[in-house]
Structure formats: structure tokens, C-alpha cells
């Protein structure tokens, strides 16, 4: 029983971090109908930026989010403007897959050149600290990361629901043509949306770097998890991606601790398969698409 509850705690905390990464992924899809294969690479880029700020300037990884987030926001806008905006025609969805994959490879190559392929991680003094609560261990970094994810998702929710930009985004998601007719600048919304998605990757990257060893190739595993989460949650649904990330975190943790780590990810894919058989749009796809 102890192992079961401990696994659930770990799963929820880990799922929170994945929720943050996946929220950016699903936001970009919601606005642009682009499956961003570079989201994992942007997370890794965020982790390396945090690592550099920490090792060279001694900036705390959580504090560094204040620097990396706006930085990757601008990078995201730049990428959308330079590489995705010029895509036109009926093949945009397929072409954007190739373009975002190319971005991922370019980021990986640049990071390999700058940092090498050796695994590294961000190791502040509190990285391994944990609290004992009723006999259960709660890692400080995971807990703060979980809180941070909630705060970031809250900010994202606020932006989308309470700002003019958010209304433009939601209008674009619901009906791009009508939104443009009503004066919404689709290019601007897309660029800012991509920037926002990249910004969430930066925040998640800072946490990811403290929780895991990483190298430039770590994005392959990340992107496969993120895609699975957003498909399970329903492409374009932020709420869905949060729920799916928590399901993935808890399912993986439970199966890994109580059965076998070999079956951990496989179990999640079985859940995904079952959900898609019953609800092809994912858990929240049909209901909330358009509302984000």
C-alpha cells in the first residue's frame, strides 16, 4: 500500500511537468494546426540555457525561468515568422511537420556543437532534497516544479480567457476565416501563439534539467511522450493535455513501481489505444476544441 501511494504521488508530480510541456504543444496545434515536432528540442534548449545560466552566472534554475521564458518566446516568434509563415497551400500541415522536424534537428545539432553529447544536468544544492510527509517522500524540486506548472498553466489560461490576444487566439482556433474577417491578424496570432508555446517549453526545460540528465538527443524521447499526451488529451485542448499528462505520469509510475518498468510506457500506450478506439478525438478533443 505504501509503495502504491508513493507511486501515485510521484506520478502526479511528474505528470505536472509534462503537462506544462504539452500545453505549449497543444496550444500551437490549436492555433496553427501545426504538429510542432520541435517542442521537445525547445524543452532541451531551455534546459541547456538554464544549465548555462546556472553554471556560468550562478543563477538559480527557478529564477532563470524569468530569463529563458521571454528569450524562447522571442525565438518562437522568430521561428514562426521565418520558417512557418511562408508555408502556403493545402500541404501546409505536412510541410510544417517537416519544417518543425528540421528545426528540432537544427537545435540538436547546434547544442551538440556547443555542449557535446555527454549527459549533463542542473544540480543546485537543493536538487536532491525531499520532505517526509506521513512516511512518504516528496521531492522539493518535483513539488515546486508541479506548483510552477500550475502557475504557468494558470497564466496561460488567463492570457487565453481574459486578454484581447486570448480572444483573438480562441477566435482563430474556432474559425480562422471568420476571425480574419473580424479583423484578427492571423499571422500575428500564429506568431505569438508559437512564441507562447516555446515559452512554456523554456519553463518546462528549466525543471526538466533539474529532474533528469539530458543531452542534445533527449528531445526524441520527449517529443514521443508529448505527442502521446496531446493525442490522448485531444489535439488542441490544454485541459485535455493536463489530464492526459497526469494519467501518463500516474500510470507509468504505478506500473513501474508495482509491476515492471518494461511495461511502464507500454501500459500508457494501451490506455491511449483504448481511448482512441472509443473517442478518436481524444479525451477532450470534441468537447473543448475551439475553446482551448
Amino acid at each position: 500500500m505504501h509503495a502504491l501511494i508513493q507511486a501515485i504521488i510521484l506520478g502526479i508530480l511528474t505528470g505536472g511537468v509534462y503537462a506544462l510541456m504539452a500545453s505549449g504543444q497543444t496550444l500551437i496545434f490549436g492555433i496553427m494546426k501545426v504538429v510542432n515536432l520541435a517542442q521537445g528540442a525547445l524543452v532541451v534548449l531551455g534546459a541547456y540555457l538554464t544549465y548555462t545560466l546556472f553554471t556560468t552566472l550562478g543563477i538559480d534554475p527557478f529564477v532563470s525561468i524569468l530569463i529563458t521564458t521571454p528569450l524562447l518566446f522571442l525565438v518562437g516568434i522568430g521561428l514562426q515568422w521565418a520558417l512557418l509563415r511562408p508555408l502556403h497551400g493545402e500541404d501546409v500541415a505536412q510541410l510544417s511537420l517537416l519544417v518543425t522536424f528540421a528545426i528540432a534537428l537544427a537545435i540538436e545539432g547546434a547544442l551538440s556543437f556547443a555542449y557535446g553529447a555527454t549527459l549533463t544536468n542542473v544540480q543546485p544544492t537543493y536538487a536532491n532534497y525531499s520532505w517526509t510527509v506521513f512516511g512518504y517522500q516528496i521531492s522539493l524540486v518535483r513539488f515546486v516544479a508541479f506548483l510552477l506548472s500550475i502557475v504557468m498553466l494558470g497564466v496561460l489560461y488567463f492570457i487565453l480567457q481574459r486578454t484581447k490576444f486570448g480572444r483573438s487566439v480562441r477566435a482563430t482556433v474556432q474559425n480562422p476565416m471568420s476571425a480574419q474577417l473580424l479583423g484578427v491578424n492571423a499571422n500575428r496570432v500564429s506568431a505569438l501563439g508559437f512564441g507562447l508555446g516555446a515559452a512554456t517549453a523554456a519553463a518546462a526545460g528549466s525543471v526538466f534539467g533539474m529532474l533528469n540528465s539530458f543531452n542534445p538527443g533527449s528531445h526524441y524521447d520527449l517529443i514521443s511522450r508529448l505527442l502521446t499526451i496531446v493525442v490522448l488529451g485531444g489535439l488542441g485542448s490544454i485541459g485535455g493535455s493536463v489530464v492526459a499528462a497526469l494519467i501518463m505520469g500516474v500510470a507509468s509510475s504505478l506500473v513501474s513501481a508495482l509491476a515492471s518498468p518494461i511495461w511502464s510506457d507500454f501500459t500508457f500506450f494501451i490506455v491511449l489505444l483504448l481511448v482512441l478506439l472509443l473517442r478518436p478525438r481524444g479525451l477532450f478533443g470534441a468537447k473543448t476544441r475551439g475553446a482551448l
Binding site: H2, A3, Q6, A7, L10, G11, T14, S112, G116, A117, T118, L119, T120, N121, Q123, T125, A127, N128, Y129, S130, T132, Q137, S139, L211, N212, S213, N215, G217, S218, D221, S252, S253, L254, S256, A257, L258, S260, P261, I262, S264, D265
Partner: protein, 418 residues
């Protein structure tokens, strides 16, 4: 008696034959001269060594470490007069960590560049196809970084792995140490967390076999896939089983993750052995925190405080050439350097450095290198054992076998510093 009539045609033919004969004779004489010249200059010609290394791709860090080791040996050897008076020239080509490219590279090195000697790439994945090429052309293949079972299963007699034992025997020395303890002081229960990898899992599996035979009960035994980034659920399972000894069949990243998860979950076994990762003098303290390294066991062939003869000179030369700190020297550099040392030893002993001599000579005797005294079975598998090392006061220290130990092993393991 036959009348011999010399018609003009016959005379012309004879003149032609005479001219052809003269040309042939001159050619032969010249060829002889050339041969003599070649054989004379061969003694002065540089000794060319070809190596394919992963300078890009997944293995690039280790590939570059091997390159530094080879290059250092070449420069040190040339400073000392070369091999049998011949200057050594190293030709390194990049295989981009690709098993296909490595085949092309060694074929080109042998047939196009016509190097005198080839030496090994990084990793068993590349060593297997590379050694086949070398074998096909009857080249010796001294290789510092391919010790997986697939390498020796090829049954090649031209191959020599420059580490003390096959990679999968890396944990045998830990089993030796534990089983050398009086029965009352041995662990009673054990947990095994193994990475699903042909080099990592067998190390733990070999230890498990011996522990179980000695009555040490297995209370946790799981294999995890390579993509497992988060080890906390696994460590939660281990902590619930509460074993005396934990054996990690690990590579580097998962070893760090295992230990971080143990620290976070405040689970401290009496003995902790990590097959790889904990033997990395620079990366390991950086990953888990220097104060958390105390008491962790691993195995190694070469490390910064190694007491093997020549190690200190190697370190001094390395730092002079490349800078950095001693803790940043990758053992792969020492292994590649040792590959060169073997060549020099063969030359000293036999006065020759041709491939047939190298193969024949290395198959007998024991050979001193930075990674210990090496000898091999007929298929190039080393017959020695790794050293058991333990982190004591922030330093990797040899603790077993007793004959080579710098200190006694610390057990039970001190608590994590947090």
C-alpha cells in the same frame, strides 16, 4: 643437320628480341634498384596508423576522447624517436558513429591510404564490423573500446581488446569482494536494477548469479528500457523491498538518475554498486553532488589516481597537451593510449611492426599498459579483471583486490548527505 637461313625477317625479329630483351633486362635491373631503394627507405618511412573514430554523432564525446589518447601516444612516441626509428603518423577519419561508415573507413584506410597498422574505433557496435574488415586484409586489430560479447563471438584471432576483461565482467570484482567477506558480515538480501542494454544488464546478472549461489536472496529484480528517464518509481520499488545491497546494471545517465532518486527517497543501502556512471571522476560528482558520492562502488580499469606505472607520466603529458584537470581525463583516452603502448612493446620485443608479427606476438605473454598487465585468449578477450573502486573522501580509490588496494572498502555505506 638443319640448315639455318637468316632471312631479313628473321634478322629483324632477332634485333627486336634483342631490344625487348635489353629493355626487359634494364627494367628488371631498375626494378631491382627500385626494390632495393624501397626496402632501404622503408626503414626510414613513417609508420602510418589508421583509425576510424566517432568524431560526430552519438559517440562523439568518447570518440574524441579516444582521438586524444591516440594522438598523445603518437606525439610522445615521436618525441622519444618513434617506433624502431620510424616516425609515427596517425590518420584519423570520422565514422559519424555509424556501423556502415566504419566499414567504408577501414576499407579505405587499408586499400586506398595503405596504412601500415589499423587500430580500433569506439564502441562494440563499430568494433564488430571494423574488426571484420581488418581480419579480411590480415591486419592486426588492437582496439580500446569494443568489449561486448558480440566482439569476441566473432572468433577473430587478429583482435586484442585493450581493457582488463570483457565489458560484461565489469562487476565480477564486486562479487569477489562481497563473497570474500565472512558469511555473517555479507548482505542477506539484494536488489538488481538493470538497464536493458547488452553491456549493462549482463554485469548485474553475473553478480546476481554468484550472489544467489552464495545464498544472498534476491528481493527486487527489474530490467528497465533505455528510454526510462525517471528512475523514481523503480527506486520506490527497491526501497519498499529494503535490500542490503543494490546492484545497478547501469550506463551513465541511468546510474545518476538511480542515485538521485535514492537520495530523494532517503533510501540508503549498506552496499551500492553501479556498473558504470559512478566510475566517471568528473561527471558523477557533478550529477549527484560531491558530498553524496561517499561509499559508492564501481569498477574501472584506469582513473585519475591510478597507481599503475606510467599513469602519472600519461597524466602530465595529457594535461600539457590538452589542458583541463586530471578529473576531466576520460578513461577512453588512457585505453587508446594503451593501444599504442602495445604496439611499441611488440616492436621493442621483436624488432618488427608488421601485422603478422603483432598478431603472433600478442597472443603470448603479458603486456604492461596503463590499464594494467594484459593478456588475451585466442579471440582477443582479456583474461584479467577490473579493479573494484569506491568513492572515499571524494576520491575514487582502489579497494579490491587487496593486492592492489589503496584503502580498505567502507561498509556499510555512509548516509547520503542530501
Amino acid at each position: 643437320m638443319q640448315l639455318r637461313i637468316h632471312t631479313p625477317e628473321v634478322r629483324r625479329s632477332r634485333r627486336l628480341l634483342t631490344v625487348v630483351g635489353a629493355v626487359l633486362a634494364t627494367s628488371l635491373a631498375l626494378a631491382g634498384c627500385t626494390a632495393t631503394t624501397t626496402s632501404k627507405s622503408a626503414t626510414k618511412a613513417p609508420l602510418t596508423i589508421g583509425v576510424s573514430l566517432s568524431l560526430t554523432g552519438d559517440f562523439s564525446d568518447s570518440g574524441k576522447a579516444a582521438q586524444r589518447g591516440y594522438a598523445l601516444w603518437v606525439s610522445e612516441t615521436n618525441k622519444a624517436g618513434g617506433v624502431l626509428g620510424r616516425k609515427v603518423e596517425l590518420k584519423v577519419v570520422d565514422d559519424a558513429s555509424s556501423p556502415d561508415q566504419v566499414v567504408t573507413n577501414y576499407t579505405n584506410l587499408i586499400t586506398q591510404s595503405k596504412v601500415n597498422i589499423v587500430m580500433g574505433p569506439f564502441s562494440s557496435l563499430l568494433t564488430v564490423p571494423a574488426s571484420r574488415v581488418a581480419s579480411r586484409y590480415h591486419y592486426s586489430f588492437i582496439e580500446p573500446a569494443g568489449g561486448g560479447p558480440a566482439v569476441f563471438a566473432q572468433k577473430l584471432t587478429n583482435l586484442f581488446f585493450v581493457q582488463p576483461a570483457p565489458t560484461t565482467s565489469g562487476g565480477d570484482v564486486f562479487a569477489d569482494y562481497i563473497l570474500s567477506l565472512p558469511k555473517s558480515k555479507r548482505p542477506k538480501t539484494a536488489a538488481y536494477a538493470k538497464l536493458d542494454d547488452p553491456f549493462a544488464a549482463p554485469i548485474a546478472a553475473n553478480i546476481q548469479k554468484r550472489f544467489e549461489a552464495a545464498g544472498i536472496k534476491t528481493v527486487y529484480d527489474q530490467t528497465y528500457p533505455a528510454e526510462t528517464a525517471d528512475m523514481t518509481p523503480i527506486v520506490a520499488g527497491i526501497a519498499a523491498a529494503n535490500p542490503d545491497v543494490v546492484v545497478g546494471g547501469t550506463q551513465e545517465g541511468d546510474a545518476f538518475a538511480q542515485m538521485k532518486a535514492m537520495i530523494q527517497q532517503k533510501f540508503n543501502p549498506k552496499w551500492l554498486f553501479e556498473a558504470n556512471g559512478a566510475n566517471s571522476p568528473g561527471d558523477f560528482p557533478a550529477a549527484v553532488g560531491t558530498s553524496n558520492t561517499n561509499g559508492v562502488f564501481s569498477s574501472a580499469d584506469w582513473y585519475a589516481d591510478s597507481q599503475v606505472a606510467g599513469s602519472k607520466a600519461f597524466i602530465a603529458a595529457y594535461l600539457a597537451k590538452y589542458g583541463g584537470t586530471v578529473q576531466q581525463i576520460d578513461p577512453t583516452s588512457a585505453e587508446a593510449y594503451s593501444a599504442g603502448m602495445l604496439l611499441q612493446e611488440v616492436a621493442k620485443k621483436t624488432g618488427k611492426v608488421d601485422n603478422a608479427t603483432i598478431i603472433k606476438t600478442l597472443h603470448s605473454g603479458t603486456w604492461p599498459t596503463l590499464v594494467g598487465n594484459l593478456s588475451w585468449d585466442q579471440y582477443g578477450a582479456p583474461k584479467g579483471a577490473y579493479l573494484l573502486i569506491q568513492w572515499i573522501d571524494n576520491t575514487l580509490t582502489t579497494v579490491y583486490p587487496a593486492s592492489k588496494a589503496q584503502a580498505k572498502p567502507i561498509a556499510p555505506k555512509p548516509n547520503w548527505a542530501g
